[in-house]
Every structure is written in C-alpha cells, then in structure tokens.
Symmetry: C2
C-alpha cells in the first residue's frame, strides 16, 4: 500500500495579510523512513504568529520558508513506522512536522511526549506558547511579588499563560485583549483586570488598573498598545518583546514605539526573547507547569480548527484577532 | 558694597528649537549666605542636551524649570563667602549653580573639587559627561574585550569619552559624527573608525566597520541613526539609551525606532540610563578616569563660549551640531 501525503506549501510571499493564493495544496507519495528515521502521522498542528515572519524573505532568527517548500510548523503526531530504536510505533512525538499529513524525518529531531495532558495542551500550555510565557516572564521580565505585570494579547496562546504565572508568583496581573468575550475569559483565569482595547482607551485603562505603574510589560502586539504601556512604566521596569502581531502584515515601514524614551526617564529596559534559546531548560519548565496545571492553577483554552484545507484561513484568524486561546489545526 | 547678580531665566516654554525670546536676562542683588550656606561666584557653566528637556512641561526624571526661574545648570565656581565650616573662600565647588554670576546655596548641595585637572575638564571628561559615559558604557553596555562598541554624537561631550573607554577595555570603537572635522577628531582619539552621517550612508558605514555586528550601541541621538544601528545588532547586543538629541526639538510626536524588532531577532536589550543614579559611585569613577587621563589614555576637548549673554545661542549649538567636544560657558 502506498500512502499519500497531503500537504500545504508556500506558493508566494504575501504582501500584507496572506491570501489563499499564497498557499498551494499538493500531494505526494509518503517516503519510507531511512536509517535513523521515523514516519509520523500528524495529528495536531500549532498555528503561531511567528509563521507570518517565516513567509517573508530576509534575515531573521530562522531562515524563511522557501517557495514550494512544505509550510513549516510545530506539530504533534503518532509514530507509524520507525527505523530508529529510540522511537516505536504508537509513540506521540512533537517537532517540526510541517503542515502535512505525514512527515518522514530523523528520530533525533523529534521529542517523545509523555501522556501528562490531552494532546492539544501539549501544543499549548505545556508546549511552545507555555514555554514562551514561562521563560519570557520569569527569565526576562523577572517579576517580584507585589509588582504589576501587564500582558497584551492576554487571551491568546502565550498571554493566557503569562497572566496566570504572574498570579502564581504573587503579582498583580492585567491583561489587554480585544472584545468582551476575551476580556471575560481573562478575568475568569484570575487576572486582576482586563482592558478591552477595542472598546476602551488603553492608556486610561492602564492608569486605572496599574496605580503603581507597570513593572513588567510582556508585549505580543507592538504598535499603539506598546506605546500606551511604555507611557505607564514604573521605575526600572522590564519590557519583554515577545512579538508584534499588529505589525506582521504591515506593507510599509513598521511603526516604532514613539514613547521609547520612557525607557530613559524610568531607567527601564526592553529585551527581545526567542523561546528556542531555552531548549536546555524546557523539561524543567514543563515539569513545573504540569505541576501547576495538576493543582488547578494553570488553565488554558485551545481553539481547534479541523482539516488541512482550513489552514490558510485559520492562520489569518491570528492576525484578525478571531482566535481565543491557542489556535490548533486538527488534521 | 552690594554685589549684583546677572542671571538668565526661562521666559517661555519653547516650541521646537529655543528662540532668544524664550530666555530673559535679569539682575538682582546678591543674597548673603545664611547659616550653612555659601556664596559662590560662577566660573564655568556646563551646557547639556538635557537642558532642552528641562524647558518642557510634563513628567520627567527631574521637574521642569519654572517660568521666571533661573535656568538650571551644573556649573563650577569659587566660594567667595562661607557660613559653613565645610567650605572656605577660594574653594572650587561644583553643583547646580544655574546660569548666573553668583549663587547663594547650602554648602551640602555642593561638591568641593580637587585640583586634579583644569577646571573645564572637571565639567567634561571628569564631570557629568565623563561619568555618563563611564557608567552608561560599563554598567549598562557591559562591553567585553574584542566586542564592537558604536557610539553616536561621537565627537560630543559624552561620545568622545565612550569610545576611549571602549578602547581601554579592549573593544573595537566606531564613532558616528557629523562632518569631516568631527570625524577626524574621533579618529585622532583612537577610535577604529568614524562614520560621517552628513556625507555618507550610516547603514553602509556600519556594515563596513562592524563586520561582526554591533555588540554595544551607545545612543545619544535617536531617530534614523538609532534605526541604522538597530539593523546591525549582533546577537545579545546591548543598546544604551543615553539621549535622543535629534528628537528634543520635535514639535510633533517623536519618531520611534522602526527597527526595534531587531531586539527580538537578536535577543538584544535596550536600556535607559540617567547618570545621577550612580551618585554613590562618582568618586570611584572619577579616580579611575583621572588615572587614565594622567596616563594619556583619556583625552577630551572643551568648546568654550564666553559671557552669560551668549547662553541662548550657545545652547542651540548642541542641537544644530555646531559644537565639538564638551560645550561650556565661561562666565
């Protein structure tokens, strides 16, 4: 029996918001695993804002996806055939499987995942978004008990975890999110306050909910919201630059933070972070977060879309702000 | 005999570049020192970019100068009468004397300066600009031997010191300055390269002179030059935000760094610094810099303008880029 692999490739580099024609659907026979390789059937694909950056040409922290190449993605799947003693059929693994039904790749490029949570959670609270929140907040933001932590895209994959870890660490947590449903979710998670950037003035909200200023601002969005947060920094505040989703589809020059001199006035810092720098400490962080999850202190929501063909439209939900929680494609 | 004090006060808050009508010249009888006070005759007044910020209303790291108030300035003078045992007539002192011929103020608000260098140098390499360079570069920038340090306004009061300390610490030093005379001066100080932003492309200059990227960028100017430096950061680079002279006279919103996401890609940081936070360590730093100066490793140039009446025009030299080295008014 020859298995057929359905996959999605990059057809063109988008200008602005990706369009359906920037993607191509293809099929090819599945390649048998060679020595040290395994064949994995993809089950859940992680949809991440960073994907938009991978579609662009130019230097970044990883090379761009090439035209015609399968769309790069972190995903979770089941081993169906193995030519490596480290993995056996039936094992759940995570890695760069790509947006496709099957992937044949070296066993050492995959991580076997333990059955500590439902599979989608392993791509969410206990996956890259959770790790990004954990290391970005704790290692770069360094919040102290009693300090105020503000996070943008607070109902998103990373933001939902940032606020909950802030609470676990004894901080005041304030989330910025778009719309009443997301704000209600953020409050339900235990954040002290939620600011709806679609229906209210963010600067006024930050003045109200951060009476002592912002000690740690975890930024996922850039643009006007970053500027509003900069204007409200406390002395020696730490700004964590995790992403800038408001700018990823900019067709002109992106908008820099006009209030960056607040860093000078407040002796504050703004630092970029990329989660993969912390790979050596992933297992330590996942163990701690799994403990919080088991204790009911760390919850997450996953927004699951079904079918490979839904990928292009689903990806754009990230940029139009339609997803709530971690966006995942179930294959 | 009644002494008359000539002084310059703030007459109006400027919009854009300060105009002569934003200043007023006045005279008043000199006030005799009360208990614990001294009377100081001003000799040299430090002219600093920060003065432009003090002319604006609004929250900053120090309160604004009030309309009608004597213009705030760090200066150096001679004690002419003392009502405090800590200081005697003839002592050289530095402090917030203001732009005036005489100041009557508490002895404890002044620092007695030792005769370790000509007086103008005590307002330059061995004064606030030197201390700003020292702590900004060493404490915030943390350069390692072999790294590349880039500084803007490299022929200015702070920049000239930053590059020389970078060389003392075993780094490659690249200066950005405006015009051939300033660039020649920067090279003469021992910088490895100077980039003339007025006659050449800064981005191309940084590519040429920073083949391994920029490890520490010490920014005094903001605007396009900050953006060019951000685009050329090395991994884990440190950007020190010391000032933004290109933006101080902006009448609209200031221009934020469009390339700030380079912080994310390069896991770099951007941190603001204010020299007065290091007051407890000034004497330690001055002792070390005086040693470098005595050894011929740390030079400085002072641009001395004469007469109180020249103050308004002299101040604007900082913003039009006409000064070379530390700008000082000799009373």
């Amino acid at each position: 029996m020859t298995l057929v692999n359905h996959r999605i490739t990059l057809a063109a580099r988008p200008v602005g918001l990706p369009r359906p024609t920037d993607f191509a659907h293809g099929e090819e026979p599945v390649r048998d695993p060679g020595h040290g390789e395994v064949l994995v059937k993809t089950r859940y694909i992680s949809l991440d804002p960073a994907m938009r950056g991978w579609m662009n040409e130019g230097k970044s922290y990883v090379p761009p996806i090439q035209i015609g190449e399968v769309f790069r993605a972190i995903a979770l799947g089941d081993v169906v055939a193995s030519n490596d003693p480290a993995l056996a059929p039936g094992d759940h693994v995570t890695g760069m499987l790509g947006v496709q039904e099957y992937a044949t790749l070296p066993a050492r490029s995959l991580t076997k995942v333990p059955p500590i949570a439902p599979l989608p959670v392993l791509l969410s609270a206990l996956g890259m978004p959770g790790l990004t929140a954990y290391f970005g907040l704790l290692d770069v933001g360094r919040p102290q008990p009693g300090e105020t932590v503000v996070v943008s895209a607070a109902a998103g994959a990373v933001g939902q975890i940032v606020g909950q870890i802030a609470k676990i660490k004894g901080c005041r947590a304030v989330g910025i999110a778009g719309g009443p449903e997301k704000c209600a979710y953020v409050r339900e998670l235990g954040f002290d306050a939620a600011i709806d950037y679609k229906s209210s003035d963010v600067a006024a909200g930050l003045r109200e909910h951060c009476p002592d200023g912002i000690h740690v601002y975890f930024d996922n969005v850039g643009g006007d919201i970053l500027d509003a947060a900069l204007a409200r920094l406390a002395m020696r505040a730490r700004v964590v630059i995790c992403g800038a989703i408001s700018q990823y589809n900019a067709t002109g020059k992106i908008t820099g933070p006009a209030n960056y001199l607040s860093l000078l006035v407040n002796r504050a810092s703004m630092t970029g972070m990329i989660v993969m720098d912390y790979a050596a400490r992933y297992s330590e962080a996942i163990a701690e977060m799994a403990g919080w999850r088991a204790a009911g202190k760390l919850r997450s929501r996953e927004d699951i879309v079904r079918g490979l063909a839904a990928f292009p439209a689903a990806l754009n939900k990230l940029f139009t702000g339609e997803n709530l929680g971690k966006l995942i494609l179930e294959v």
